[in-house]
């Protein structure tokens, strides 16, 4: 007897469903996306036991024609595309035509739907992938899908499910992401009689953020608006770096309106926050990315949470730049601005930086002219006293500031050294070439970035295998020596990715500048006169990024009047 045979379609569907339907949250995601694709204005999700027992998603969308009902439950049946090429321009969230079929394969599904033109709704029950016969039912226009006994027929999956509480939490976060992306749709998530999440139809995402995360977060958000030269557009909101969370639930990235998880992009964004967000804490952001539809392939995985993006690194670099710009320009001043509902009006059109796509030149326009005041708030600061000969206490319209004199002065020198650097590049040739044998990873990195080494002042020839000869090195900074082993340090930082988003050209010099700045700056325990303190504060207004010293420590701490009032138990 032959040992190979075709699988029974029911088994086949159960296997395929494993990919799409992993847990109750995946069911919720698929059903919400279907509801959104049906032009709904309100979506109501009811859970029992975190969705393990029952999930019911009701929308007021366009509904399904009664004759289409059986087809809706069939695999690879969809109304959204008809050819693969439609995918590129598909405005729909779904397109694979397998969500309902997959869900139905591993649960009991009751699908009820009524279009506006029909006087009554129709109902179809499916159990373990086998459809019953449609019946008529009384209902409002829209669609309701009720999924019960999820995974009843796949015991292995059933056993590995998380607790009801965890699942409900997960569904709540998932719905938050979708609710923000579709701020025009009202969402309601209930478990039993408890409301987990409620949003109403809004005109901007910020209002939805307000509903979800409260005034404290929403009012402090900084708008991001950035357009790259290739037409890539980044919009959205980020929270200033001093607001952070212990999880990544409050981070959303939407590529062409689709909520996605993309590790590379997310890291680029977090990198921009890095010096100011503590370890293992995560910044808050909600960013919308408009890319050429042809450059995005959502058809990577059935759940469509992962997308493949063309020139991902460049997009990442652009995101980094956009977030960095917003943080340096806004973070200190806007956290107390009083116009909560008009935050979106503050969208500022930043001058488009002259970027090459792969590498960003170090100095953007702002850094090159040193008379331009970039942070007005520092001009308004009045130093009150020096504390412990280490910190400057000063007051300004936004509160009380504690400024680390060394860190602030260090930052000042650092930016000056960076500015001066552009003037002339000098290389020190070596009497005897220095020979370095690289390992495979280092060699790859070297081959890839050879031009960067040359631009930085290295003269390197290859001498067979993965051995290189260094003939000249960039002139060391001040009294720091030129060292051919610097090649290796640089390669390491390329490999570890430090040189990726920030300053791909200047990694060689960045540490040198930081070191020299640290040496040059005034130290802690140095008494300062009033005039000196005032001078330092005013100089900070000229900095590109006064937030932290080049080693990543913050330069200042701000105490707002509200906070002090609150601590004293006064009502502001």
């Amino acid at each position: 007897m032959s040992r190979i045979h075709r699988l029974d379609p029911v088994v086949r569907d159960q296997i395929a469903a494993g990919e799409v339907v992993e847990r109750p949250a995946s069911v919720v995601k698929e059903l919400i996306e279907n509801a959104l694709d049906a032009d709904s204005c309100r979506i109501h999700i009811r859970l029992i036991e975190g969705g393990h027992s029952s999930i019911e998603v009701t929308d007021d969308g366009s509904g399904i024609e009664p004759s289409d009902l059986p087809l809706a439950m069939a695999r690879h049946a969809t109304s959204k595309i008809s050819e693969l090429s439609d995918l590129d321009s598909s405005p729909w969230l779904g397109f694979r035509g397998e969500a309902l079929a997959a869900i139905a394969a591993v649960s009991r599904v009751r699908l009820m739907s009524r279009t506006t033109s029909e006087p009554v709704g129709h109902e179809l029950s499916v159990e373990g992938g086998v459809a019953g016969t449609p019946k008529m039912v009384a209902m409002a226009p829209g669609t309701t899908v009720r999924v019960t006994s999820l995974f009843y027929n796949t015991p292995a999956r059933h056993k590995s499910q998380k607790s009801a509480g965890a699942e409900a939490g997960w569904i709540q976060h998932l719905t938050e992401h979708l609710a923000i992306s579709r701020y025009d749709v009202g969402f309601l998530v209930e478990q039993g009689d408890k409301v987990l999440l409620k949003t109403t139809s809004q005109t901007t995402p910020i209002q939805t953020l307000h509903q979800l995360y409260g005034r404290e977060v929403a009012d402090s958000l900084l708008p991001v608006e950035h357009t790259g030269i290739t037409g890539i557009r980044i919009r959205g909101w980020i929270a200033p770096a001093h607001i952070h969370r212990g999880t990544r639930h409050t981070q959303s990235l939407y590529v062409n309106q689709r909520w996605v998880t993309n590790w590379v992009l997310r890291q680029a964004i977090e990198e921009a926050f890095k010096p100011h967000v503590p370890d293992r804490r995560f910044p808050l952001f909600w960013l919308w990315l408009d890319l050429q539809p042809s450059g995005v392939d959502p058809n990577v995985h059935p759940t469509k949470a992962e997308v493949r993006i063309d020139r991902e690194r460049q997009v990442a670099a652009l995101l980094y730049r956009a977030v960095q710009d917003t943080l340096t320009n806004k973070s200190q001043s806007s956290s107390l601005s009083i116009a909560p509902n008009h935050a979106h009006d503050e969208l500022t059109e930043y001058a488009q930086s002259e970027l090459r796509l792969e590498t960003f030149p170090l100095g953007d326009k702002r850094a090159s002219s040193d008379t331009q005041i970039l942070h007005k708030e520092f001009l308004e600061l009045t130093p009150l006293a020096q504390w412990q000969a280490k910190y400057i206490i000063s007051q300004g319209p936004l509160g009380l500031y504690l400024i680390d004199q060394h860190a602030a002065h260090e930052r000042l020198y650092y930016e000056r050294f960076k500015r001066e650097k552009g003037a002339s590049m000098i290389a020190q040739p070596l009497l005897v070439p220095h020979i370095i044998t690289l390992n495979t990873t280092e060699w790859q990195a070297f081959i890839q970035h050879r031009q960067l080494f040359q631009d930085a002042g290295f003269e390197i020839t290859e001498s067979g295998g993965s051995t290189i000869m260094v003939h000249a090195v960039p002139q060391g900074f001040k009294d720091l020596p030129s060292d051919p082993e610097m090649v290796r340090t640089v390669l390491e930082s390329i490999i570890q990715g430090h040189a990726q988003y920030g300053h791909p050209v200047t990694w060689v010099e960045e540490p040198l500048f930081a070191m020299a700045a640290c040496k040059a700056a005034i130290k802690a325990y140095r008494p300062m006169s009033h005039v000196e303190m005032r001078g330092l504060l005013q100089d900070m207004a000229l900095l590109t990024d006064p937030r932290g010293c080049p080693h990543g420590r913050p330069t200042l701490i701000r105490l707002s009047l509200e906070e002090v009032d609150r601590r004293f138990g006064r009502k502001g």
């Binding site: 650097k421 002339s424 590049m425 000098i426 290389a427 040739p429 002139q475 051919p484």
Partner: protein
């Protein structure tokens, strides 16, 4: 152990051996000085595990023995004693050492029976090279500054030393500049020797007996021994391949400039003042027959321009140097006039004393990138 010695001699020997002691030690014993009394001498020894320094002073030994005492404390104490002689007695079991001077005494707790780590001893031999008094310190002054200071290429922290054919040649380089010096040793009959001497060992060797006595140098594989009448320094040598430096010393120099040393030094010092404020730290030498112009500039500080008359031959040329390198070289020269020879914009320049051709410096020009 019990002995009586002259305070003066003991203090001098202690300062000498203390130089080897590292200020931070993971093994406490390395911070100690080992005293060993035998017959009529007391031997003082210190080590940093890389070298071992021994000094000997005459003493009246009442009871032979040894002790290791914390170096800094002991040395400071002896230096401060008011009396001409000092009596030192220690209990070998506990290491407790009593220093008696006049009617007073101080007790210092030593390291008990512990001794400083064993160091391979090498003996002096008849084939040792005898370097006349003061020559090593002269060599150290002439070339030591060109040694590399960072750890990335440890071999360049040493000095390449060649002994043979009646002379001693020493070379140091940090990769971008090089110093070369030699002295005649007509009496040396031993084999030809090429070793890499750690810079610190040349410095310490040159200070043995205050540079007042000839130093006898002998070698064993991996070790050098430098001895004067009452002190011996034994040290490991650096292991590795020294770069082939001969190839980088140009053979011909089309431009030859002779200029008073003090004048040039003054000019370069002033130019350096400005140059050092700029990250490039560079000075520009422009030569025209009869004049040498030295200039530097720093973006936010200013510019310097110095004109010097000189006695020169060769074409016009403009070369950019690291000002620190030039200044270091000039500081090591002593004669009245200096000779600077240029071989090209991209190739090495040579600086030497017009009256003493026994040592010279090679400096590679900087390259301006556009």
């Amino acid at each position: 152990m019990h002995f009586t010695a002259s305070q003066d001699q003991l203090a001098r020997a202690l300062s000498q051996v203390s130089r080897i002691i590292q200020s931070q030690n993971s093994m406490p014993i390395l911070g100690g000085i080992q005293l060993m009394a035998t017959d009529n001498t007391v031997q003082l020894q210190t080590t940093d595990l890389f070298s071992l320094l021994t000094a000997e002073i005459p003493a009246m030994v009442l009871e032979p023995g040894y002790v290791v005492i914390p170096g800094a404390t002991f040395s400071e104490l002896i230096h401060r004693l008011p009396t001409a002689t000092v009596d030192i007695e220690s209990d070998t079991g506990t290491g407790k050492t009593v220093v008696k001077y006049g009617r007073s005494r101080t007790t210092i707790h030593g390291f008990g029976t512990e001794r400083i780590p064993e160091f391979p001893g090498i003996e002096g031999n008849s084939q040792a090279a005898i370097v006349p008094a003061g020559v090593l310190s002269e060599l150290a002054r002439q070339i030591l500054f060109s040694c590399s200071k960072d750890e990335s290429r440890p071999i360049l922290k040493g000095i390449h030393m060649e002994l043979g054919a009646g002379k001693l040649v020493m070379v140091s380089t940090d990769g971008s500049r090089l110093s070369h010096a030699w002295v005649a040793l007509p009496d040396y009959r031993g084999p030809e020797i090429k070793v890499i001497l750690p810079a610190k060992v040349l410095l310490e060797g040159s200070k043995l007996a205050g540079g007042q006595q000839p130093v006898s140098m002998s070698f064993a594989p991996g070790f050098v021994r430098m001895a004067t009448d009452d002190a011996i320094l034994i040290s490991r040598l650096l292991d590795g391949e020294y770069p082939e430096y001969q190839r980088v010393i140009p053979q011909t120099y089309p431009i030859h400039i002779r200029v008073p040393l003090l004048e040039l030094k003054g000019s370069v010092e002033r130019a350096h003042l400005i140059a050092s404020k700029d990250r490039s730290n560079s000075v520009r030498f422009s030569h025209q027959v009869g004049t040498l112009q030295i200039s530097s500039s720093a973006a936010e500080v200013g510019q310097a321009e110095e004109q010097l008359d000189c006695d020169s031959q060769g074409q016009e040329m403009e070369v950019l140097f690291n000002s620190t390198f030039i200044l270091d070289a000039l500081k090591s020269l002593t004669g009245e006039d200096l000779i600077m020879e240029l071989s090209g914009v991209q190739s090495a320049a040579k600086l030497l004393d017009a009256d003493n051709p026994q040592y010279f410096h090679i400096v590679l020009p900087l390259r301006q990138l556009v």
